[in-house]
């Protein structure tokens, strides 16, 4: 590996860490866990493979939408949206799922409070896919 490629790899890793930590910095994962329990847990699991009415959300943060929950039948709308679950897309989706992705299987009024959304996103960022 050349020094240039090492430098590129280091920069990429730092950017990824910075991206992951942006949600953690913006929101409170502990508070997010509470919001998740009251709003999301009835349909979504948080460990790999724990699909319920909705897919498991383990490891989705930073990954392409509709890609992580093996065995779950995602909607054609979400698969076709070509989203990556980052802070911005999760924020829009959690605010009004059906408006952001018409045809999604998630009938939910949304989280109107930006702080609640940031907290939930921070919590989702703590969930690993392994």
């Amino acid at each position: 590996m050349t020094s240039m490629s090492k430098l590129f790899g280091l920069a990429t890793a730092m950017l990824m860490l910075a991206g992951a930590s942006s949600a953690l910095a913006a929101g409170d994962a502990t508070k997010g866990a509470g919001v998740f329990q009251s709003q999301c847990a009835m349909c979504h699991g948080v460990t790999p493979g724990a699909n319920g009415i909705g897919p498991s959300l383990a490891g989705i943060y930073g990954k392409p939408a509709a890609s992580m929950a093996a065995g779950y039948e995602y909607s054609a709308a979400l698969k076709g949206a070509k989203l990556v679950w980052d802070d911005a897309s999760l924020d829009k989706f959690l605010a009004a799922p059906q408006s952001y992705v018409p045809g999604t299987k998630m009938p939910y009024a949304g989280l109107p409070d930006a702080g609640d959304r940031a907290d939930v996103i921070a919590y989702l960022a703590t969930l690993t896919g392994k």
């Binding site: 009004a96 408006s99 999604t104 998630m106 009938p107």
Partner: protein, 448 residues
């Protein structure tokens, strides 16, 4: 011909056996049209059928569009209810025209549905049902709810609001306490029923109306729901075209609904009120004098759902004020003003999405009116019943490979009447006892 005689019993057995064979299958879908659209098992939306889960309520609020975009053949579904009826005392003349006096198989109703999105981007979706009545040998429109739902914010709170065209006060409801989706979950058209019902339980299909609703999450755990509809009776020609005949009601029929729901995890508690006012024309002739009816009710639902079981408790009470000016003037009631009270208490338990039991107590109490209730020796409609329903759902957690969207319910239902038409014994003045109407109804509800 929909009637299934005893001689056709072997075919029914074959059908049930085939159903049992198909039950040994794989991945789950359920309510056919909605399941096909969402890809979810029916247990996502229902605790048994027709009781709604939190997901089912959100799906309905949002206009039946989740998981869909535009109409698709998958949004069409068929349903049939096939059963065997036994009453404690045989009924001279038959359980219904062309039926034996007891112990009869019947295909009680067969329905075709459209369920799902019409245009998801604008929040337009529909539940449309048309039914062939195998007892009366007639075809008619059935529960219909076409709605446009939108999401916005109001006072910084999320608000679903929408508009509905529907044909049954209460068919739009999110809880299973109003009559449209409440008790009885499995009506037996060959069994006996009470001699009176409130207007809230009597207008299905005979009216059409427009309305608006709103559901606001005042907190993350509390939902306020309000709905207001205005109905009118179907015009003569349209009523006959749609198979329900002419049932004239003078003027507009206002309907209102308020409810509060508190949720925690998968559990919820609902408390609500419901009301309706109408002016039915007893002669059945347009522009003749009308009576004036006002219904006001309260209801509550408590629902616990875990990964292994679901428990729901429901209570509904409706009081009806009856100003019978037209009926009284025609000499068909003894009083100018009567009243009717109904109370229904239901408890349901579903284990592993397969084994269900539902117990319901129903009581109807009304004014003493010898002319209005001429079949009662004491002139009262009072009828109480206990209904026990035991169900087996083979496909709630896994439909057959060849029809993964199919759903079925095998049921045994027993209805016991402590009082009927005013009394427990000699209610008709000719020696009949209330328990003569006790009914056993068993069969299969099949949807695909």
């Amino acid at each position: 011909m929909a009637r299934v005689s005893i001689t056709r019993l072997p075919w029914t057995v074959v059908a049930l056996a085939l159903t049992g064979y198909l039950a040994d299958t794989n991945a789950a879908h359920a309510i056919p049209a909605f399941a096909a659209q969402t890809g979810e098992p029916c247990s996502a939306c229902h605790i048994g059928f027709p009781q709604l889960t939190p997901y089912g309520r959100e799906f309905k609020l949002e206009g039946y569009v989740a998981g869909g975009m535009f109409p698709d053949f998958k949004n069409l579904a068929l349903m049939s209810q096939i059963g065997f009826t036994h009453v404690q005392n045989k009924v001279p003349g038959g359980l219904a025209p062309n039926y034996p006096s007891n112990n009869a198989w019947s295909v009680q109703q067969t329905s075709i549905f459209y369920g799902g999105a019409l245009d998801a981007k604008i929040g337009l979706g529909a539940f449309i049902q048309a039914t062939y009545n195998g007892i009366g040998h007639s075809f008619s429109w059935d529960n219909t709810d076409i709605r446009l739902a939108r999401l916005t914010t109001f006072l910084k709170k999320p608000l679903f609001y929408g508009f509905t065209f529907n044909n049954n006060p209460g068919v739009t409801d999110l809880w299973n306490t109003p009559p449209a989706w409440g008790y009885p979950f499995l009506p037996d058209s060959l069994g006996a029923g009470p001699p009176a019902a409130v207007q809230l339980a009597s207008l299905g299909g005979k009216v059409m109306g427009l309305g608006a609703y709103g559901a606001m999450n005042i907190t993350l755990s509390d939902l306020l729901y309000a709905e207001a509809n205005v109905y009118q009776s179907l015009p003569n020609n349209l009523g006959h075209t749609l198979g329900v005949g002419y049932n004239p009601i003078s003027g507009a029929i206002p309907y209102g609904r308020l409810a509060w729901q508190h949720s925690w995890a998968n559990n919820s508690f609902e408390l609500g009120a419901i009301g309706l006012q109408d002016n039915p024309i007893p002669s059945g002739v347009s522009h003749d004098p009308a009576d004036h009816m006002t219904d006001l009710g309260v209801d509550s639902q408590l629902q616990f759902i875990s990964s292994t079981y679901a428990l729901s408790l429901q209570a509904a009470y409706v009081h009806e004020w009856q100003h019978l000016s037209a009926t009284y003037a025609a000499g068909n009631s003894s009083n100018l003003n009567d009243s009717l009270d109904t109370i229904t208490l239901t408890a349901s338990y579903l284990l592993h999405q397969k084994y269900g039991i539902t117990e319901t107590y129903s009581n109807i109490v009304g004014s003493s009116d010898a002319l209005a209730y001429s079949g009662s020796a004491n002139g009262k409609p009072n009828t109480s019943s206990f209904t026990t329903e035991i169900d087996y759902y083979p496909w709630n957690n896994g439909g057959p490979k060849i029809m993964p969207w199919a759903n079925a319910k095998f049921f045994v239902e027993a209805i016991i009447f402590p009082t009927f038409s005013g009394r427990s014994s000699n209610y008709d003045g000719a020696g009949a006892s209330a328990n003569a109407n006790n009914t056993l109804f068993t069969g299969i509800w099949l949807a695909f």
